[in-house]
């Protein structure tokens, strides 16, 4: 890369209006910058547009107006396949439900992004993913099918999957929303560790104030605009 990218995500005047019989304006001009390795949490009321924002930041959806740069690339310049490459190599997703494929085992699910990128994982890549799964406490579940694993286990597997292609940023939409307090806490700690160790930025949407406060930065979406609630003391 020519110049080192300072922000993994940078939006200027991002607006999103859902077209339809009644057009729904959701995001009314969001300026957001996420630095390399930063852990940001986003809170906001239900329906405020948190998922909408995350989908756009992950190149799953396109903004109505404004620019979005992911890893320094303006996504409006990319083709569908270019967006797919971005999702494959720069962004990782974690959703509220784990969304693992039930046809595949835990390990196969976790290496899936690598398989999609290059057909199949090399033994080294598989070894790396296995070590991550062992780290998150799934060493004994490698060859189990998702429907025989607990919600917390599945979500941990989904986090490893999000890390598989060593992305610059992971977007997590209520990753602990379906979990009890204890497993939620575990999953969150895991994300924090990974972020710190591998240097991956995280943007986490959550309804859990306690978890939100544990992030580097808390942002809130209200009435389509972004508000910064607190910066962590340096």
């Amino acid at each position: 890369m020519a110049s080192p990218v300072q922000f993994v995500i940078e939006t200027v005047g991002l607006k999103k209006t859902y077209a339809g019989k009644v057009p729904t304006p959701v995001l009314l001009g969001i300026d957001l910058q996420v630095a390399v390795g930063e852990f940001v949490s986003i809170i906001g009321q239900s329906g405020s547009g948190k998922s909408t924002l995350l989908n756009i930041l992950g190149a799953l959806d396109i903004p109505t107006e404004g620019t979005v740069k992911i890893d320094g690339v303006d996504i409006s310049t990319l083709t569908d396949d270019g967006l797919a490459v971005l999702r494959s190599q720069v962004v990782g997703f974690v959703f509220q439900s784990h969304f693992l494929l039930e046809e595949l085992t835990c390990l196969e699910n976790a290496v899936l992004p690598i398989a999609i990128r290059s057909g199949s994982a090399t033994p080294e890549e598989t070894e790396w993913i296995t070590s991550l799964l062992v780290r998150v406490g799934l060493g004994g579940q490698l060859h189990k099918s998702p429907d025989t694993m607990s919600g917390g286990e599945n979500q941990r597997c989904a986090i490893v999957r999000a890390l598989a292609n060593k992305p610059s940023i992971v977007l997590a939409d209520e990753p602990t929303g379906n979990l009890d307090r204890h497993s939620g806490e575990e999953v969150f700690q895991l994300m924090r560790q990974m972020s710190a160790e591998i240097g991956i930025a995280f943007v986490m949407v959550t309804h859990d104030d306690r978890l939100a406060r544990a992030a580097d930065r808390i942002l809130s979406i209200e009435d389509g605009l972004m508000r910064s609630l607190r910066n962590k003391a340096p």
Binding site: V85, P113, A115, I116, S118, G119
Partner: protein, 419 residues
């Protein structure tokens, strides 16, 4: 995983996921495989039975006739003006006269040699054929005469197996074999003498060596080649060469080839029976039509099952896209699924189709004559080419049927799918 490593690396993910889909699909997968298989079974059976009947009918018809008949071109009137060597300016009226044209194949040995180089040709028999009158005492009866070496002629028109008395093989120069109808008209039997008068006008005294019956219609009188040549007064020439081929449906090609290679006119049996050939074609067309509709019906069944399965997998498609799958990769996953169904269905269908054909060929007809080979009640054809074609057609139809749902899957918007 082991088979997967044989595939190019770029498509291993798609192949693996398609395989997992099929495996986890269970009953639904088997349903689609069964739809393809039944299509293949029906096609193999229909084609096998219709072409089987065609073969038997054609064999019945062509067994006792030459497959290709080589003659000199029929005499045509040539305008006087076109005659070679005429004196210029002598004709004011457009007089037409019979040009000196060939009637006989003088170089028949060349014809034989050339004909034998054509792969599909089984036997070649030089012969003389002509019209004449047979008489015993007063009343003459019209008869067509064929002069040929009995052993060779036997391969063109079986006479011996139809004999009701006497012999044909080993016919002497002063002997003739006539058909039952003529014997009845002349009121003669084996060993009697008759005369046959041909175009030469000289009555040829002949002893009846055998009498045969075709079962219907009048047959020719058979003499040796020499006798025939002298009766027609054509020296050492012949006026016809009979060809029998191996593949009866290749007779037209042989005739065309002979016409091109030789200065002769070669006619295939099919030109003698245009209606028969037309009805064969109509039958074949109906077989293809039924096959086509069967495959269309089974691909509709497959398409509808796959459309539902894609719908059910919407969420998964959303996930795959969110973790970087390109639209083409999604397309390929579902096409591979279709391909898997196509291969499994057509292989199973071919095995079952062959089994069905074999079982229906088991009932045999009672043998009419002593020493006859029993024929199946339903004549069938088990041609590997037809079976492979049926498999290929069914597979193509299946993959095409998978294309529609696969494209729908590829186009799916990940955000909508994940909601």
């Amino acid at each position: 995983m082991t088979i997967n490593t044989l595939l190019p690396r770029q498509i291993r993910f798609e192949a693996q996921l398609a395989w997992r889909h099929l495996r986890s699909g269970g009953g639904q997968t088997w349903l689609t495989i069964a739809a393809v298989a039944s299509g293949v079974i029906i096609v193999i059976f229909i084609v096998g039975v219709i072409f089987g009947f065609q073969r038997r009918l054609t064999a019945l018809l062509t067994d006792a006739i030459p497959h290709v008949t080589v003659q000199v071109p029929a005499a045509r009137p040539i305008p006087y003006a076109d005659l070679p060597g005429r004196v210029a300016g002598t004709s004011s009226s457009r007089t037409e006269m019979q040009a000196p044209q060939r009637k006989n194949i003088d170089d028949w040995r060349t014809v034989l040699a050339v004909a034998r180089t054509i792969p599909n040709v089984r036997t070649v028999t030089p012969a003389v054929a002509g019209q004449g009158f047979a008489s015993k005492g007063a009343n003459p009866v019209g008869v067509s005469v064929i002069g040929a070496d009995p052993a060779q002629q036997e391969l063109v028109t079986p006479v011996t197996k139809n004999l009701i008395g006497g012999h044909y093989l080993g016919l002497a120069a002063d002997e003739v074999v006539i058909d039952y109808e003529l014997a009845k008209d002349l009121n003669v039997g084996v060993g009697d003498r008759i005369r046959i008068t041909s175009v030469s006008g000289i009555p040829e005294p002949l002893r009846i060596a055998g009498i045969y019956s075709k079962g219907q219609g009048r047959g020719s009188a058979y003499v040796t080649l020499r006798t025939g040549q002298s009766m027609l007064a054509i020296g050492n020439s012949v006026n016809v060469v009979f060809v029998k081929v191996i593949d009866i449906y290749g007779a037209d090609a042989v005739a065309e080839r002979l016409t091109v290679l030789l200065d002769c006119e070669a006619k295939s049996w099919s030109s003698e029976f245009p209606n028969f050939v037309t009805s064969l074609k109509a039958q074949a067309a109906s077989a293809y039509l039924i096959s086509g509709f069967t495959l269309i019906a089974s691909s509709f069944a497959i398409a509808s099952v796959l459309v539902v399965s894609v719908q059910r997998k919407a969420k998964q498609i959303g996930i795959l896209k969110s973790i970087g799958a390109r639209s083409n990769q999604i397309l390929l996953v579902f096409l591979f699924e279709g391909l898997g169904i196509a291969i499994a269905g057509s292989v199973l269908g071919a095995i079952a189709g062959i089994a069905v054909l074999y079982l229906s060929s088991l009932p045999k007809e009672a043998v009419g004559r002593f020493g006859g080979v029993p024929q199946s009640v339903i004549p069938l054809i088990l041609d590997p080419l037809y079976i492979l074609t049926a498999m290929a057609a069914a597979s193509t139809a299946t993959v095409l049927a998978a294309l529609l749902p696969a494209r729908r899957a590829a186009k799916m918007n990940p955000v909508d799918a994940l909601r």
